[in-house]
Amino acid sequence: MEHRQRAPIPTSITIAALLFLFVPLGLVVLFSFNSTGSLTFPFAGFSMRWYRQIAESPEFRSAVTNSAFVGLVVALVTLVLGTLAAYGLTRASTRWRTPIAVLLFLPLTLPGLFLGLSLLVLFARVEVTLSLATVAIAHLVYVTPYYLLIAVAALQRLDPALEEAGADLGGNGWLVFRRVTLPQVWPVLVSASCLAFALSFDEFIITFFVIGPDSTLPLFIFSTLRRTVDPSVNAISSLLLMITLALFAFAFLLTVRGARSRGLSIEPEALGSGSR
């Protein structure tokens, strides 16, 4: 019996925005299957030649491996550090909470350019050789606040009476966390960790400064873009798009399904507070 009004202006703006967001990306994917190198219509014909071409490139392969390796390390370390931090932030109540929260969320507002430059200067100063390790260090700084946004929201939504009931029934802090808290929030934490992987996998702005002789997928795309108009860029870009979007879709489903199996509303709660 919900009575919803029709709102032609917001509706058309939403549709236009969706087209604006997806048509350019769709075209890149579409032309990655074009049999000629042309980027104009008409579409010449379907072909996988650009994918075959990049699959044979050793630079591309090592870039993908490097990105996946860094992403995996970042996702796992964030899962541990971020979950601990989110738990601490949501369960403590003292005057130290706010400054710590500010520190943990601040990287969100610092442009990557400045973080990248600062880290480069620091690494140069203490004579650390740039490598994939320095990339992972930088990425961890970059993804922590994003992970925390999701994890803190999930832990805050949890009814505090659940943890109190656990403690009241005889569980100490660690047992309550393991047996009461984690079972409620693990789907959200795992999906946030997937998103950390996706963010790291796609990071360019900071990586540009702190990477040594190695390459990652975004760096590989960057140098290809600077060199030539190489049609294989479409295929590389499409692959990068598909990998990050698949990760996101997995994370999204995990969250929605986790909520559903608990009989909660199926709103994508991790994405905003869209309460009815």
């Binding site: 009476a161 009931a165 029934l169 079972p183 608990r262 009989g263």
Partner: protein, 361 residues
């Protein structure tokens, strides 16, 4: 503290004070609860009753004072080291576990064997009449059923004290009444000590052996339901427990038998008290009789409002020199119309006099 286990009260609170930054939630509360007793902490929201319960459970620590359970000082013990269990306002069932696993949460921590756990869980569920619900998830239960599971989960450990924090407040009236009699039965059957928190005076009167009335972080009165209702210790208790007319009066002859009190120009008898001067007259609406004016000098007023109550009528009668209209519950009889002049009478022993500070009100 060397109190022997036998004679020590089950729960003893000594001068418990709780401050939240600059707000004082509890002011030096001292209370003993005997073994097997059903004690209700009653008061309006924000009076400190829930804070006190949470202090007994161990979720809050008192700023001052001590908490003793069966003679042992547990003031500093965390919740999981206290032999008490709590039923929360909302059921707070673990949504990732089914009914049986919820109830088994405590026994499992205690390291009971699988067979043992099944047995105690079955017993607990039978006690709350949920046998056969073992494998339901919490979202497949009704509100009343969820609260029963929460009860089973709390009593399965056979706690020394069961704490109940307004466990019925989220339920519909009909289910609430049903659960009340369930709670009375449960208390009889397991014979434990129950501490119950509520703001519903009707619930408190119906359930408890003793009622502790709270206001502004202080105990206003401790007594049996009958005591608290019939002999309220303060105007607050009179108004909060049951309905009451609380009238400012002057006691002219307190020591006399019967005493005489005055409202404006009216004088009437009251039970003997050792008060003279300003006092409060507490009068339950059901002891007030309403009759046509006879001219014998009884209190006279004008009917301002009446409503039909099934068994009778309830009136609000405006009386000269009395600040608020008097309430009267009259069973049977014919109704007086709004605007009619009536006389109000009552038996002198049915009212109660309390001291009044003339400065206030």
């Amino acid at each position: 503290m060397t109190g022997s286990q036998g004679s020590a009260p089950r729960v003893r609170l000594v001068d418990v004070v709780k401050r939240f930054s600059d707000v004082t939630a509890l002011e030096a509360v001292t209370l003993d609860v005997a073994d097997g007793e059903f004690v209700t902490l009653l008061g309006p929201s924000g009076c400190g009753k829930t804070t006190l319960l949470r202090i007994v459970a161990g979720f809050e620590r008192p700023s001052e004072g001590r908490v003793l359970l069966g003679g042992d000082d547990v003031t500093a013990a965390p919740p999981h080291r206290r032999p008490v269990n709590m039923v929360f306002q909302r059921p707070a069932l673990f949504p990732h576990l089914d009914v049986a696993a919820n109830v088994a949460f405590g026994p499992r921590i205690d390291g009971l064997s699988k067979a043992e756990i099944d047995r105690v869980v079955g017993e607990a569920l039978a006690l709350v009449q949920l046998d056969g619900f073992q494998h339901r998830r919490s979202h497949e239960l009704s509100g009343g059923q969820m609260q029963r599971v929460a009860l089973a989960r709390a009593i399965v450990n056979r706690p020394q004290v069961l704490l109940l924090d307004e466990p019925l407040s989220a339920l519909d009236l009909k289910i609430r009444l049903e659960m009340e009699s369930e709670l009375r039965r449960l208390h009889r059957e397991i014979g434990g000590t129950f501490i119950y928190v509520t703001h519903d005076q009707r619930e408190a009167l119906a359930l408890s052996d003793r009622i502790v009335v709270f206001n502004h972080g202080r105990i206003e009165q401790i007594g049996s339901p009958n005591d608290v209702y019939r002999r309220p210790a303060s105007p607050f208790v009179a108004r909060f427990v049951g309905d009451a007319n609380v009238i400012p009066v002057e006691v002219s002859e307190g020591g006399a038998e019967p005493a005489e009190v005055a409202v404006g120009a009216h004088r009437f008898p009251a039970p003997s008290v050792d008060i003279s001067g300003p006092a409060w007259l507490v009068l339950r609406p059901e002891v007030v009789r309403v009759r046509p004016p006879s001219g014998d000098g009884s209190l006279r007023g004008v009917v301002q409002d009446l409503s039909f109550r099934g068994t009778g009528h309830s009136y609000r009668v405006t009386v000269e020199d009395v600040p608020e209209p008097l309430k009267a519950e009259v069973s049977g009889g014919e109704a007086f119309a709004i605007g009619a002049t009536v006389e109000l009478t009552w038996e002198p022993e049915a009212c109660r006099l309390l001291p009044r500070d003339p400065g206030a009100d």
